[in-house]
Symmetry: C2
Subunit: 321 residues, 2 copies
């Protein structure tokens, strides 16, 4: 199957929405569908499309992996409740932290999160509900990266631990596969999702785990979560592509109340980028950088030092691990 | 003994130099004095004063601990040779790297360097030469910090491994003890030392070892040494108090030639400060920061990321360890 992009200039959001609702309806028929909502633009859009098409026959789960922004699970569930969509919150924090214990290698961290999500948590839900249809927010950039060999094909059924021998009867529906992010934002807006969702900056799948160097523990996720809140508040008006803090493992010397304090360092990254393939550090005014450092070292316990990334991508990458 | 500061506005450099030459001459008489030159302003000034007072009866050693700037030992020895001062270069690199092996704690690193310098290397030279007078560049800020309890008293003879029982006969001469750094720079200039010496930014005693997080090895000293050269070249015109790179132990993801490269990160610090007690990050224009990052990631093998410190002192400190 050759997938054809719908470019943003050719997109008629209302017409697109009607067509996708029709397609999902006729595909699922009287059956049951399931999806995982993360609160990002893609999964929020898929959830709304599925809800419009299937109503209560779409089961939507928010899996709290413990690696989210502050109050994110409650925020997303309550936002969708206000839109008339029931989302079931699954507390899986313990499973994820257990899977991450002792792992320091970045690739192994990502793998542990993927495995826990698909095999342990979401895989079980798919089987329990008896749903035979899975809604996924795969977009055109994902397809393109697969073709280019940058990302491996998401073989969703395999990832869910659904044996290929028994695969018959399961079907993956990907209503956003012809759209890029900016077009998806248009659809999200037309679906009545609030600006705070359709304008959201990207957030990595493995969440705050990608923003901790070294082992991921509830304690250091808590530090980087507090810093994330401050960074997102202070850099909201930069219009940058993405901005976030990273907790380093290296400790550095500080002084507090005339006492030596061997403490944590936070690195801030803020990128100007069209689609993430290349990037330039945003030229944030020094007065804002100073305020960021001052707030983080005051409000986040244990942090004595803050730096700002000044490298382009390449040779840096957008995220730190 | 109460030491009285000579303030820069009361300093008459020529007169000060004549007085100190007289004092050193009459103190040492026909004896032999010894001193260690590091190439910093203080020890360079002491070397010139001692040389003027004693000529060949001052034995000056440059101890190459392997933790210096690029080509520093050769540079300092040759600069003083041109001024008519013979400096003996002692290659002690192996002793220092041996002493630092396996040590990651910042305080233990500093202690290992101090011990190797005083007990193992310079201590032996003092005994070998039979010198009974030690010239030291102790300045008024050192005295003040001792009184305030910030720094421990430099008990030089103890540090040299010269037993207090046998101390009699040894004497420490500190001709700069009434001056602060800016006044010492005036004296250095009046002594005919070149601008590159009397305007030199401070460089820590333990050298580049303080600019490597984690274990100090010849390999990572080499990385931070190359970065130091670039940072000093690019930030020379900032008029900042001090500027330097730090090699982190944490590795971060980069991309080079479309390949993932898990590489090193360098943090740059550049401080506006009067005397180092408090400090503000210098507001370096982004175009210079960009050039710094570009040069370091291109010219220093293995480095894929560069950050800039944006924290004030306090709660940061000037150096990272």
């Amino acid at each position: 199957m050759k997938i054809k992009e719908i470019k943003i200039e050719d997109l008629k959001p209302e017409k697109f929405i009607e067509e996708k609702i029709q397609e999902i309806s006729s595909e699922v028929g009287k059956g049951l569908a399931i999806n995982a909502l993360s609160g990002g633009v893609d999964s929020s859009t898929v959830t709304m499309l599925g809800h419009r098409a299937l109503g209560n026959r779409l089961k939507t789960y928010f899996i709290d992996n413990g690696l989210m922004r502050e109050k994110e699970p409650e925020y997303v569930v309550s936002l969708f409740r206000d839109l008339g969509v029931k989302v079931e919150l699954i507390d899986a924090k313990r499973s994820f932290f257990q899977a991450l214990k002792g792992i320091t290698d970045p690739e192994q961290k990502r793998e542990a999160i993927t495995q826990t999500f698909y095999k342990e948590i979401f895989g079980k839900l798919v089987k329990q509900t008896g749903a035979k249809y899975l809604l996924q927010g795969t977009n055109y950039t994902d397809v393109e990266e697969t073709v280019a060999g940058i990302k491996r094909q998401h073989n969703v059924l395999d990832q869910l631990g659904i044996d290929t021998q028994k695969r018959f009867g399961y079907k993956v529906i990907e209503p956003l596969i012809q759209l890029r992010k900016s077009a998806i934002r248009e659809v999200a807006k037309a679906l009545g999702l609030p600006e705070e969702i359709y304008k959201r900056i990207p957030f990595p799948g493995p969440g705050l785990a990608t923003r901790v160097i070294g082992e991921v523990t509830p304690e250091n996720i808590d530090i980087v979560r507090k810093a994330t809140k401050i960074v997102e508040e202070e850099l909201k008006n930069t219009k940058a592509f993405i901005y976030f803090p990273v907790l380093h493992k290296d400790k550095v010397t500080g002084i507090r109340n005339n006492q030596r304090e061997f403490g944590f360092q936070i690195e801030i990254r803020c990128w100007d980028s069209k689609e993430g393939k290349t990037g330039e550090p945003t030229q944030i005014p020094y007065e804002i950088l100073k305020k960021l450092a001052q707030r983080i070292t005051t409000e986040v316990s244990g942090v004595v030092s803050v730096t700002y990334n000044i490298t382009t991508k390449p040779p840096s990458t957008i995220e730190v691990i």
